[in-house]
């Protein structure tokens, strides 16, 4: 057990402007960055704004950038840093800042609403759903998502290009499309909704250049790129760029 003084730089400010403020703060054994932020609140900066909730890596509220990397404050142990290192904490840099470490993540809620919901199969009542474990495995992986939006934050498509926010749903919601497209009982196709096609036409799958940062930052370890985005790209190819598949589907429909 030992404690020491750590040097922190925390971004403070709002949409009008702001900057990195220096702090020296006590750190005890076994603490995480969120503990230090809380200590700052309790002792030096009572109005330091930060979002947090479960403090156990399960709710995805305390997303921020630590030394320039998108991370959960509650899952970043202080022991991963050198004691003489200055630790920089900033808000997510892809979304409009509200105050201090809190950003407006409304972009994500807007995108969530643009993905058509699960379509229950006709004629199958509650209690009659039968699905095999191997058929739900893939979508279950995506449903581990805690919606921390770190993948949305790190994705250069919107991080570096504000103008793409309109057309691009971001990894989290392209993964949601994949989740529904792989759901064994989703009946979207029967209602004329082709999720494979809309992934590209409406949710901007083509913007993704599979550079895998979303997978790198995912605190749940979901293989977003390999298991959701690339399979969706392949499914879009089935629909749009594969004459053999196209021909096959024409013949079968006859």
């Amino acid at each position: 057990m030992s404690s020491y003084e750590a040097r922190f730089k925390v971004w403070r400010g709002d949409v009008q402007g702001g900057g990195l403020e220096d702090f020296e703060v006590e750190v005890n054994d076994g603490e995480v960055v969120l503990d230090i932020i809380h200590r700052l609140q309790a002792t030096q900066a009572p109005d330091l704004a930060v979002r947090w909730n479960c403090k156990a890596g399960k709710c995805g509220s305390c997303s921020a950038e630590i030394n320039g990397r998108p991370r959960l404050l509650c899952m970043t142990r202080m022991s991963v840093f050198d004691r003489d290192e200055t630790i920089t904490v900033t808000p997510l840099r892809t979304f409009p800042v509200i105050r201090d470490l809190v950003t407006d993540v409304g972009f994500n809620y807007t995108k969530a609403r643009q993905v058509p919901a699960f379509v229950p199969p006709e004629g199958v009542g509650p209690g009659e759903y039968r699905m095999m474990q191997e058929d739900v495995d893939r979508s279950q992986e995506f449903r581990k998502c805690i919606e921390c939006f770190l993948c949305q934050d790190v994705c250069h498509v919107v991080r570096d290009h504000e103008e793409n926010k309109q057309a691009f749903a971001g990894p989290r919601f392209l993964m949601r499309v994949a989740e529904l497209d792989m759901h064994p009982l989703d009946a979207a196709e029967e209602t004329g909704l082709d999720r494979k096609r809309t992934a590209q036409d409406e949710h901007g799958l083509g913007y993704c250049n599979i550079t895998k940062c979303c997978t790198e930052v995912c605190p749940e370890g979901i293989k977003i790129t390999d298991n959701a985005l690339i399979p969706m790209k392949e499914r879009a190819v089935d629909r749009k760029y594969d004459p053999l598949v196209w021909l096959g589907s024409k013949i079968r429909r006859r």
Partner: protein, 278 residues
């Protein structure tokens, strides 16, 4: 309202820019990473560049690609009249005498296209050469970005056709490896160091080819119900396990194919003789 659930105003003059602009937190630095984030893209770029330089030289050299019984994978199959005759080897004169330059160019398009459109290599060169992005959370230097939505990058979608072609090429290279079980006089049942090099190379080529994302999709990934296709489900799982190593296999097979070619070159140009085992 707090953290607006209302849709943003759809202004016609949409704001542009990246992390340093608009309503984002005012931070001048393009990134605040303190680790050596540039190492990975730099190493990737260096590795790819080295291969490009080497393979360009070898592909255009049009020499020292056959040292019986070994044929360089860069020149197999050899499809022009100006190929060195290889006994029982992969000579098919589909292209007539009009083809003047190195016959490697004809065939290399396929493995090259396969690798160029490969989901792993795309990541590697987008990051390493195009800095889009250079590394995670490091601002990219481009003013605009459309990803793979337009020509030419929309062509990346044809990856699966290159995969089909790559399967053929892999078959031919397998045939070449079988031929490597001969000696210089074309007698069967012999092995040299080159045979081993070829064996390792073909194994890695196959693993890389099979672990491709398109392959994973074709064998089973496209299905909605695995439970109705148990065999394809098994195959999908197996390809999936390989696919998790796609990056490592991409590099290993890139290196091995270059080494196999280098080996042939060294033997063919007489630097040393192929050590025979039996």
């Amino acid at each position: 309202m707090a953290t607006g659930t209302e849709p943003p105003a759809t202004a016609s003059d949409r704001p542009r820019g990246g992390v340093r602009t608009g309503t984002r937190a005012a931070i001048a630095a393009p990134h605040l990473r303190t680790d050596r984030w540039w190492l990975a893209p730099a190493a990737t770029a260096a590795g790819l560049l080295a291969f490009v330089v080497y393979s360009t030289w070898r592909a255009f050299a049009n020499a020292d690609y056959y040292a019986a019984p070994y044929v360089s994978p860069f020149y197999s199959p050899c499809l022009a009249e100006n190929c060195v005759p290889m006994k029982a080897g992969p000579n098919w004169e589909l292209f007539g005498s009009w083809w003047g330059i190195s016959p490697a160019i004809i065939i290399l398009i396929f493995p090259l296209g396969f690798r160029l459109t490969c989901y792993y290599y795309r990541k590697a060169y987008y990051r390493g050469f195009w800095a889009s992005p250079p590394a995670c959370a490091v601002a990219e230097p481009h003013a605009s970005y459309t990803g793979e939505t337009r020509f030419p990058l929309i062509l990346q979608n044809i990856h699966r056709y290159f995969f089909y072609a790559a399967l053929l090429v892999a078959c031919i290279l397998t045939y070449d490896t079988v031929l490597a079980f001969r000696d210089e006089e074309y007698n069967w049942g012999h092995m040299g160091l080159g045979t081993l090099v070829f064996l390792v190379n073909i194994a890695l080529i196959w693993l890389y080819t099979i672990s491709c994302h398109s392959c994973r999709h074709i064998v089973g990934g496209k299905l909605k119900h695995f439970s109705r296709h148990p065999v394809r489900y098994r195959m999908w799982q197996w390809v999936g396990r390989l696919n998790a190593r796609h990056m490592q296999l991409a590099w290993a097979s890139l290196l091995s194919v270059a080494l196999a070619d280098l080996y042939v070159y060294l033997v063919a140009s007489g630097v040393f003789d192929d050590p025979r085992f039996f």
